[in-house]
Symmetry: C2
Subunit: 346 residues, 2 copies
Amino acid sequence: MEVDGQRPVGRKRVTISDIALLAGCSKATVSKAVNHQPGISAEARARILRIAELSGWRPSARAVALAGKSRTVGLVLDRSPDLLAADPYHAELVSGIESVLARHGYWLLLRIGTHAGAEQEAATYRELAQSGRVDGVLLAETSVDDHRFSLVRELGLPAVVVSRPWSPVDLPWEGPQHPGAGMDEAVRHLVERGRDRIAYVCGPPSRSYVVYRTRTLLQAVADAGASMVGIRQTDASAEQGHAATRALLEQPRPPAAILYDNDQMAFAGCRAIQAAGLRVPEDVAVVGHDDLSVSRWFSPPLTTVAQDVFGLGVRCATRLLRLLGETVEEPAPFADPVLVVRDSAG
Amino acid sequence: MEVDGQRPVGRKRVTISDIALLAGCSKATVSKAVNHQPGISAEARARILRIAELSGWRPSARAVALAGKSRTVGLVLDRSPDLLAADPYHAELVSGIESVLARHGYWLLLRIGTHAGAEQEAATYRELAQSGRVDGVLLAETSVDDHRFSLVRELGLPAVVVSRPWSPVDLPWEGPQHPGAGMDEAVRHLVERGRDRIAYVCGPPSRSYVVYRTRTLLQAVADAGASMVGIRQTDASAEQGHAATRALLEQPRPPAAILYDNDQMAFAGCRAIQAAGLRVPEDVAVVGHDDLSVSRWFSPPLTTVAQDVFGLGVRCATRLLRLLGETVEEPAPFADPVLVVRDSAG
DNA sequence: TAGGGTATCGAAACCGGTTTCGCCCGCCGA
DNA sequence: TCGGCGGGCGAAACCGGTTTCGATACCCTA
């Protein structure tokens, strides 16, 4: 059956009307057929689907969006490009999200924030919602009392929070029950090896995860009978991790072990320790966080807290699609962060 | 002026008709006003814009898309999630692209490929084009004789190739004139330090960049009077970089210097070298590629070839927007890849 | 004063689907 | 035989913009 033929230059695109014409029925019937809706006979459905297939017709996502849902979800990452590049967290998260979206015919609309402040960020979400570009959004990297929580409610924008927010919020979230898990395990690991003076180089204190980890860490140190000799706040960059480490080493009571909020700060910390004439792990033990793929190749191979970020993305996307009315199979159960023991912590 | 008020639950969204009603004009006039088109008096324009502003109206992206352009561009990355996470290349590329798109009211539709073969990838592009989700696409990570080149032409999909394709193709591209640049510089650096037995651990030989670099490398080695003692092909993963390095060291004529196609393979290679009882750089010099942000913190700090990937994204996005009829300011001039000298190569 | 040109504006068609609602017809039971 | 019921289908409204094209009004010149 030659339906379309050579598609000469300037040929207009095939529309639902063409299919209706070919099938000898109405647009409404074609619509019902391709959307698997009731109110149409099995024979008609089969015939229409075959014709649609043969003619290579695909519904215009634009028209579908105007009449109904856009099948698009948004993700706004408001980090500076170099932090984004340094930290594979978001790449993995996006991969996990995408693996679910792709399976259900959804698409991801991504915005790398200009990092121009909360006003600008809010404007981005407004634009996303009010222009109807997306059906819902994922809120990543939340901070304590995140202004986006009230914003998405005001906008009526379906949203799922990535990782547990610090204070209870009227939005669904996905992530480990205990976002600080792995920190206590790390502390026990260190104390068992005689490291009783512990320091922590953390990320921005406004971040929910920093608060969770700090709380878990302090509790674990107290439980183990060790003592905290320093907590340094950074912007999560390697540079500030390096500086924080130097400061810790110059203290009157320097740490015997340092935990970092991500692996790249741990790398930089190791350099600072070595530059001070000390050895890792003999003089100072080092524990990272995230388990970058390069961490096992570092010298010494990095002991670090690993979490399943890909799986986190999968769960968040699943939750959002369900919120949007899709039926999505239950994803694999979720693992709490866990300590990966290598050489850098003895 | 109270236009919208408290926006009670269930309030329908503000549309162009509401604005027309408020302004006492027609939808057509409102449209002309907000799109800065001629055929409307300055007073009317100002009044309409003020009313639109006050009522918080934003044109529906869905309706705009149906009637015209979607102001969305697509990027399909067909890599496995762990490679994506390990390699910050794409995060930086996307950041660069986004920085341009955001400034011009465009959005990025991202698909992380399922890595399910060329058929599947082609289907993704077809869907993107035929459903009208995007106005154009960026083609990253091209291979020699990439099947997407003919595909986008067949689909009539505006496209820009990221980095120079290997063979001339009837599509615009952006990137350094000499994609292999930096490799010759690295070779000279090594030979000047007496390393005359050189090996190369490269990525998949189908990739354009691998072909460019290989050619440049071979030429540079010949010019410098050194000799190639091995070229090992990998999938660009650290694991295969590690294995390739071991194989090189076990050769009858082991290399005095190894160049890697990315930094994570260089890291893994260093571990393999040390595991063989050799030192970096005393026994074997190592040169990476890409200059990951962690590379300067590695032990020893990695000598590597750096390129401006963010700038590459900027240029490609600019080129695409221009192709789509936007007027975009000329981006900063483009730098060829350059060698960053640290400690790992003597 | 008549005629021609120009600037401003609006009615209506259009983009390509979805959805509502009513019609028609065949089948069934009374 | 007749009335009721329900499945299958289509006409038309609708989503919210853009664009075309004709109407009107105004100004200037001959």
